[in-house]
């Protein structure tokens, strides 16, 4: 199946937060008490009850305030750190459309995905199970748009065939974030400034510690295990065990003593 993706054009966004509300409504997520921090950004980050969040980047340029918005959510990576690090096959998985879904029944509550994600997206809910944006795979399977896309009044959020959405954006002369990173993100952005301004990594990658664990330590461990067993056996049949000579076992006086 052709890969599907979100195209999120932040230049069109008016920060109405219909996406946040639409998501909460469809996914039956509870409201949460929040605190006024002197900023429209609220809640301040993704929570177990908030799968997508409007971030407000405020830049004070003397007499002018520059406002940038970012719709933060699961990026649905093709090379997904959460899937790579999750011990329980199927707790996090790729759908046929290339999106990252989760199955709480298979979640073993190890917390690895929370720390294996390059974008700090997955959260643990009150039952200690993984939650995050799953791109409304239930709606997609029935030919509908994800709830956030349906709710968006400005076409900031679009969803569809990944290749044609990217081609369309490029034809319009826009620069795309996430086309090839992590083998291509499933949430591709059009940003109005550098990724760092939006607190996004310029070159998103699986955390080095997770890469080293899965791609270096693991193969080394499997090779090392059989290597050590093999070396022990080889030593036994070549140099042999350090046997006591006949009679040495008994209480003979020490040589030279």
């Amino acid at each position: 199946m052709a890969r599907k993706a979100f195209l999120i054009d932040m230049s069109r966004c008016i920060a109405c937060r219909a996406c946040q509300v639409g998501c909460k409504q469809w996914n039956k997520l509870d409201p949460e008490a929040t605190v006024n921090r002197g900023c429209y950004e609220n809640p301040p980050q993704l929570t177990p009850q908030l799968y997508n969040q409007m971030q407000f980047i405020e830049q004070d340029n003397g007499d002018q305030l520059r406002w940038l918005y970012l719709n933060k959510r699961c990026m649905h990576c093709a090379d997904a750190g959460c899937i790579k690090v999750c011990p329980s096959a199927g707790a996090l998985y790729h759908t046929p459309e290339g999106l990252v879904g989760f199955n709480q029944d298979k979640c073993i509550e190890c917390n690895y995905c929370v720390n294996g994600c390059p974008f700090d997206v997955p959260r643990y809910d009150a039952r200690k199970k993984v939650t995050k944006c799953h791109a409304c795979i239930d709606r997609i399977a029935n030919g509908m748009l994800p709830a956030c896309v349906k709710a968006c009044p400005t076409q900031t959020l679009r969803f569809g065939d990944r290749d044609s959405l990217i081609a369309e954006a490029k034809a319009a002369g826009k620069k795309v974030y996430g086309e090839n990173d992590l083998k291509g993100l499933g949430a591709v952005y059009i940003l109005e400034d550098s990724p760092e301004t939006y607190k996004l990594p310029a070159k998103p990658a699986i955390p080095a510690s997770i890469f080293l664990w899965k791609d270096v330590v693991k193969p080394f461990g499997i090779l090392g295990f059989w290597g050590a067993v093999g070396a022990a056996l080889l030593h036994y049949v070549t140099f042999g065990p350090k046997k006591l000579e006949n009679g040495e076992d008994h209480d003979t006086p020490e040589k030279g003593a």
């Binding site: 011990p87 190890c110 720390n115 664990w213 090392g224 022990a232 040495e248």
Partner: protein, 203 residues
Amino acid sequence: MSKYVERFNVVERVLHWFMVVAFFLLVFTGLGLFAHTFYGYFNFFGGPHQAMLIHKWAGLMFFTSSLLLAFSHLKDLFTFDADDVLWIKKCGGYLSKGHEDIPQGKFNCGQKLFGIFSLAATFIMGITGFILWFAEGFARGAVQASLLLHSLFFVLFVLAAIVHIYLTTLGNPGTISSMLYGNVTKGWAKMHAIKWYRKVEKG
């Protein structure tokens, strides 16, 4: 006169076997968390949740017994001399067929290095394990570093254990009796730990 000489008292033996049981519980419950490949090992423990619970408590068992054992031998472990250099130069005599004359104390150089490694690894596994147990209370950087260190020292610990088990059973006949019954034959003591034997004989 007895043919035997005492090597490990009953407390040391019980601590050691306590540690062994905890070690194998940790290895087999931990494998399922180490990689997808070994996820099936959880089934031996009645599923992932029980396996992880056993892993955490076995970790506490191991940490405690390992530290107690190491601290009771701290002086022996950290005392090195010229004979230890000789032991390393001759690879412990393991790369020749006959017996090589390398006078050693209660523990030979290799055993001391294994003991020191085990002590250091116990600390690393204990600290990183604690961070992973309560991962939600720690920064992402700390948890990520812990995941790497915990997996790396898991592998190193298993490799060290394979060498340890081979050398104390098949590799050096007569050694295992010290951990089973507490004593070794005097012949064994003269061959493997002559400096220790002389000290014991003097009383």
